[in-house]
Symmetry: D3
């Protein structure tokens, strides 16, 4: 039985889209579970995290605490996944790596937000993939793969079918690290993918793309390690 960790873009939980975006994803997860796929879902913090962090920064809260607020917002999103999946899901949101590993032994879908300040939810997803010896890490984002440059800013950006970790690291090297601004696969997540050679695919966070990724069909961008 395959085990897949899916990082779910925080944007799925934005209030103007969530009513439409969440139910079909929940249906997909139930279906995949019934077909024998073991799933671990990692919810991004999205709009809630962003708003709390922005305000918190204005009133002088330190970055470590903002990280903490961001991951608690992500856990609220994970609660929606757990509640919406009802008896398909492990009934609470684990808050540590060991907690996830224990929950997984029960055979249900497990959903988490963040773990500890200093880690993006991408890094959390990669750590989980390592810990539970997952076969696949699907990073479901708001773009449909890795581009040669930011497709939101550059119309000439081209999507890559595959990209090596070392190449991706070079692209991300100059990212800033502030609470709430982690994008795509940050460096920590990438290094974890690299050190454990985790099969990783970056796809758009819609039911069709996620399903293709879980089933091993071509979609998005594959990260290669070598």
């Amino acid at each position: 039985m395959s085990t897949t960790v899916i990082k779910i873009s925080g944007s799925v939980f934005d209030w103007n889209v969530i009513g439409g975006s969440l139910p079909p994803l929940l249906d997909l997860f139930k279906r995949l579970h019934n077909e024998g796929h073991k799933l671990i879902l990692v919810a991004g913090g999205g709009e809630t995290a962003r708003k709390y962090i922005e305000l918190g920064r204005k009133i002088g809260i330190d970055e470590a605490t903002l990280d903490d607020i961001g991951l608690k917002a992500a856990r609220l999103n994970a609660e929606l996944l757990v509640g919406g999946l009802r008896d398909f899901a492990f009934p609470s949101v684990p808050e540590t790596l060991d907690g996830v590993a224990e929950a997984v032994t029960g055979g249900k879908i497990v959903a988490v937000g963040g773990f500890h300040p200093g880690h993006s939810t991408n890094a959390v997803a990669a750590l989980i993939a390592e810990k539970v010896h997952a076969n696949l890490f699907v990073n479901a984002t708001d773009v449909d793969g890795v581009y040669t440059s930011d497709p939101k800013k550059d119309v000439g950006a081209k999507k890559l079918e595959s990209v090596s970790v070392s190449e991706l690291k070079r692209m991300l090297e100059h990212e800033e690290m502030r609470a709430g601004t982690y994008e795509l696969l940050d460096l920590v997540a990438l290094k974890i993918v690299e050190r454990s050679d985790i099969k990783t695919v970056v796809v758009k966070c819609d039911p069709n793309s996620v399903q293709r990724a879980v089933l091993g069909r071509p979609v998005g961008t594959t990260i290669t390690v070598n």
Copy 2:
């Protein structure tokens, strides 16, 4: 030294007002603390709680879990209080009554959200007042006191200077109890106020009214037990 529990209306944390409403309240709490007032703050869940609960109910999440989501949203608001008060505040948000009592012994301002499903943040505030033997429970809401009827719906509603618990219970008896809809002092909160004869004032959640209440000056509506 007096000890005061202040329930802070969730509406203070609404995104369209929070930037303006929060900083002066934080300043007030620091000032009161410096003047020797021991403060315990209980944040309501506000807009964040309401949105998550509304969506959760739509996707079929049970009421107990929605309660839980609501209190976790309230804890996010409490995190803003803690972070914004910096070294004035106990550095984390206690999640149990014992945890609050332990935190209070350190002499700093303590901020909490909810505790456990089935309790409004008002009931939480009343329980804390009981547990720490507080001198005063200030219920800072989005109206400026208890009215003869809902002032938002009835222009003829009159504000009461004081009201007895038994009268208030009659007024609230027919409230519905669904996650996110607890208003004013719900019945559990009222019964706690009654059983321990806790001095209670209902005021508008603005710095001036809260300050008057903490200092014992006439403001809002006093709840009388007898």
Copy 3:
């Protein structure tokens, strides 16, 4: 497979009767479990709770702490259930709603006492029924149903075959709320039953009545929601 939450009257644990009352109940629970009924047991505090609370009140302990003492006494009673059920039971007594939900996924009988000050064990039982989507909530008390008045004080009291929540609320409205005095279904428990339309039966806490209730045969008083 049906899931039933059974609130077990604290009186079962009174020292002058417990040696006789407990073993047949334990046998019943094992039998029902073997027949495929998923059971969650909520132990009342009974004599132990009452004694500690009475003494505590005399030496000046606040009501919130007395609530806490009462629920810890109820947990001691739950320990007897767990220990007596041996390998039929989840081996520890969960202390939170999430803890119960996690324990239930293991497929064994789960026994709990209280959760948090401010809640009766009836409210705890109702919350659990909500959280685990139980099919039935059996409130096993020391009377054999709901009466038109207190059958211990009024010989003319008549047992009702069914009663609506709103009627019951009217009957309970004037109950006092002090640690250890919660009776029948208190208001919080009733409101939870109402908001989630939980099928509820009040029966006497003897093996025969409890068995009839779990099997869906007519017994005691049914609470109707409408």
Copy 4:
């Protein structure tokens, strides 16, 4: 400032005497605290523990679980100490050795029951004395010192002014170890006293004797290590 660990005999909490025995002890502890004595109180399980354990053994509960039930009963007794001491006491009952050590740093009286199955509350008290580097361990029991034989069974038993650990070990060597039957200083407690050379006095658990012991005046039996 001296630090004293006082093991309080479970018999103080017996229901027929507790109303009379507890208040004067609480008064003593407050007075000693005000005079600068740092106190850590360890409550025995007494009648509650004994009853639960006896019943539990009858319905087939294993000894390890009975130990656990016994220590939880002792914690209930500790809750009475905490609640009755109000603001003199650390507001909750620590459940681990580290928890005690942390609580002690706050400067209030700390009260505990047991820690973990397999340890008597005497062993718990000795471990605490070791951990917090206490100056004195007062073992307040239901006899007024160590006798040459059991004074309840042998009228010729003589009280010893002092006794060496090795002598006492010989006397206790043949004790049985069943949940609820630990008496005086069991072997584990004695070995801890010995390995850390903890000044230890065995006295009757009445306010006068305990006070004499804490103040270092002659009373009961002193345990000598050499």
Copy 5:
């Protein structure tokens, strides 16, 4: 299905032998698990514990804290067992008796170190055997059974095929109890074996002897209770 608790000698984890000693033991445990034997492994502290304790004692750390350090070292050894057994093992190391009992319900191999200061890992193993109603307690040590005297010091020492608890107690009575020096079955462990009549075998900690013991074949020394 039989349940066996195996105490694994800390010497297996000594750095000069561990690379050779651990893998065949892990293979044995996997094989026994596949054959339907339920296993609970208790790792001794070994060299790591000994080194930390020796140093700690030199720099003035109290014995209770040294006990704590020793059991945390034993937990590190348990982590190696868990990690090395991968999907055969419960994925974390429980830290309480209840935690073990919960973990065991999942059906995987469970590995632990110590629980609480004041207990040897032998006592921990005996408590677990009691709690989970194990059929057998295998004490795998660095000698191949119980001898008439210490075989490391006395060449005339003879191995016993069986020995009664009372005889063994006499032999151990004069052991010193300092953190890190618990040997064979200490008195607490023995008394637990005695009070619950746990079938116990002392064997050398090599795969062949351990396998013989688990399968009920003659090996090492059997402890008899009567």
Copy 6:
């Protein structure tokens, strides 16, 4: 009063040097504490971590679990700091960022190991500095500052008096990230230093250098942010 976070090189805890290296450091920390410096100590994992990780990797343990083992080894080292500092130290080793922040409010020296897999102890130290608003982060390593290249491999390596974060990031960019191999300030630690502009000094981990750093005297290499 200044607050300083000191990362203590794991090499201080190597068994061939620890007896000599630890006592003078403990003396220094006590002295600095008495002079009013608030200290938070972060112990590296050193030899113990390295040995467990090396062995673990050989027997097939995943990197996330190895990270976990490494941080638990670092906590054992932190226990030595706590025990050796006796009443100068907060009596236990916090395991989360919130736990550290709570411990710090008590005014004692706080010592920690790691927090969560995926973070070096350097990153932990930087996060703590951020969270408690420390004035200074002293990274006490086994070299006496940052060199132009690895001084252990390159005799021509030159020590820098100061280095900018961006320069240092370039130097570290190609580090591998495997459990136990984090060196100097890894990228996560550096980004935290950068985002919060934390005053940081890299010095050799000897009492004289650490003292100079805490007192603000020139020593080692200063990290500049701009």
